[in-house]
């Protein structure tokens, strides 16, 4: 018995070593690099404190990135929640060929961000694409200043079906008797949603906010295809970090963006994991 317990711990050791090095030690190393000089490929570990951060926060491109992050997260979250919730509710209303619709809605999630970006670049091509199909005159992702919102359309196309699946699982988990009881009490559909279904689905919405928030912080593929736009109007943190670090070799400055991304992610994930922990304990 004792030997088996030891085996169990030993079996976990390789994974523990890899996670502690490749995730935790690496993160600390990134934080460390963000506080040293290291201006070119050649390592230079002269400590400079928060100088790199000050420099980054005064950098116009970084400021645009932060603004774009807020816009992207807002647009992406709203579209995913609204589309995901509406489609899940419709699919939950005893639909024929539900499986067909479900398969179609979720399938973009099986497609890569690069493919999504390549197709949507053609769809949002200002002289053709959706403009031509729908008779619109939008500049889409080439819109000065607000182009980033068009990027969220492509991102939501890819992710809203996933959100729909989460909401659908949530709806299926709601006790049918509860809905019937509300109907007997004379609740309208609107009241049923307003007072019963939406509050009961709050944990799903919380999960979706965390997931889409994380997605907004790290989105890389779609901006990589669509480009940074004029005056960085469609630039995002992850892409800026990549260019600074691996194309301009500004290692320490790249590490600053990476550190900011980790801190933002931790702010989002911390409360989420704490809530999961509470659920587990109950």
């Amino acid at each position: 018995m004792r030997g088996d317990n030891l085996t169990a711990i030993l079996v976990l050791v390789p994974a523990m070593i890899f996670v502690s090095i490749f995730i935790y030690a690496f993160i600390f190393y990134t934080f460390y690099v963000s506080t040293v000089k290291w201006p070119t490929l050649k390592p230079d570990f002269t400590f400079v404190g928060l100088q790199n951060y000050v420099r980054m926060f005064n950098d116009p491109r970084f400021r645009i990135d932060m603004r774009n992050l807020v816009l992207f997260a807002g647009g992406f979250m709203t579209q995913c929640i609204v589309i995901g919730f509406v489609l899940a509710s419709l699919l939950d209303s005893k639909i024929k060929s539900e499986a067909v619709f479900r398969t179609i809605f979720v399938f973009p999630f099986a497609v890569s961000g690069i493919v999504t970006g390549v197709v949507w670049r053609w769809l949002m091509f200002p002289q053709a694409g959706l403009n031509q199909l729908l008779g619109l005159d939008s500049k889409w992702y080439t819109t000065p200043k607000w182009g980033i919102l068009a990027v969220t359309i492509a991102a939501s196309w890819q992710f809203a079906g996933y959100v729909m699946a989460l909401y659908l699982a949530g709806l299926r988990g709601i006790n049918a008797e509860l809905k019937e009881a509300a109907a007997i009490d004379g609740a309208s559909t609107w009241q049923l949603y307003r007072h019963i279904i939406i509050p009961l689905l709050a944990p799903v919405t919380f999960t979706v906010i965390v997931l889409t928030g994380m997605g907004s912080i790290r989105v890389f593929d779609i901006p990589a295809v669509l480009g940074t736009g004029a005056a960085f109007s469609t630039d995002m943190l992850a892409f800026h970090m990549f260019q600074l670090t691996f194309q301009s070799n500004r290692i320490a400055l790249g590490a600053v963006i990476a550190s900011v991304m980790i801190m933002l992610a931790a702010l989002l994930v911390g409360p989420y994991l704490a809530s999961l922990q509470l659920e587990d304990a109950q």
Binding site: I23, I95, F125, A128, F242
Partner: protein, 292 residues
């Protein structure tokens, strides 16, 4: 979380009752669903019609016109460009998915059935790590892979995907194994079964669905990866297919038929897996909602 998530596909069947009598609101419901379906399929339609055009037919003014005559030139041209990368993606994805599934199964087994003081904390630390953006580790990753002699090689990409797949695979298997009654494990311990024989004779034989879920999840994630492939291998002929498609889109800017064909080729394997094994894919979606 994972063990209790309802299976969308099966619960859907159960909740189906005879359809209601005709009502105008049903038209609205179906109308909205059909519009949504068109929206989600529109990019696929565009990929197909553009991919089947010849270069002369690819014209901004007739972008939505059906190809006439239908031509496979775009596909052939795109395939010639991305075939080696398509192969690279398989060489990367298959072993990485297999290794992370086997490894995840054993780790999940320990987390679910051999809890020791601190094992839950270790599990939480795995989870936290899963959420963090890759950018946070890229700089030391590149230097470490260089030191290990794995930088610029497909083995380096495989290794990286295996390491970053540890948390999600362990999470999925832990959820699956947690649903197996502890009494079963305890009884076999009394019968003299040890750590490995319980795994081999009790858990492994019933693990097929969990393996399917994890393999499909990892296959999709790794196949669709762009960042790791971009960072770890610098030579274009070693790049995975999504890196190649991105480059194709950069070089053939006006040859939309080549771009669309390339995108379709890159998307095909995961779409096929999704269509054939959608049930397991859905389960992975719900279990993986922790990651996204």
């Amino acid at each position: 979380m994972t063990a209790t998530t309802p299976d969308v596909a099966t619960t859907a069947e159960k909740s189906k009752t005879p359809s209601k009598p005709f009502h105008w609101s049903r038209i609205l419901v179906y109308g909205t669903l059909i519009l949504a379906a068109i929206w989600f399929l529109l990019p696929v339609y565009l990929m197909l019609i553009t991919g089947m055009k010849t270069y002369d037919q690819v014209n901004i003014a007739t972008m939505w016109a059906f190809p006439n005559p239908i031509s496979l030139d775009g596909f052939i041209q795109a395939w010639e460009k991305v075939a080696p990368n398509f192969k690279n993606s398989f060489v990367i994805t298959v072993p990485a998915a297999l290794i992370s599934a086997v490894w995840g199964s054993i780790n999940g087994y320990v987390f679910a059935k051999w809890k020791f003081p601190g094992s839950n904390i270790i599990f939480m630390l795995f989870l936290v790590g899963m959420f963090l953006p890759y950018q946070g580790v890229l700089i030391p990753l590149v230097f470490t892979l260089q030191k290990m002699g794995l930088y610029g090689k497909l083995t380096g990409v495989i290794f990286t995907h295996c390491v970053f797949g540890i948390p999600i695979a362990a999470l999925m298997f832990r959820g699956y194994y947690a649903a197996i009654p502890n009494e079963l494990i305890d009884a076999s311990k009394i019968d003299g079964c040890g750590f490995w024989s319980i795994y081999r004779w009790i858990l492994l034989p019933i693990s097929f669905p969990a393996f399917a879920v994890v393999l499909i999840w990892q296959f999709t994630t790794i196949w669709n990866d762009y960042l790791i492939g971009l960072i770890v291998v610098s030579r274009p002929n070693l790049a995975p297919v999504n890196v190649a498609v991105k480059n194709l889109a950069g070089t053939y800017t006006t040859q939309w038929q080549v771009q669309m064909s390339g995108a379709l080729i890159a998307a095909l394997p995961t779409i096929i897996v999704y269509l054939l094994l959608g049930r397991f894919f859905m389960r992975g979606l719900l279990a993986g909602s922790l990651k996204g």
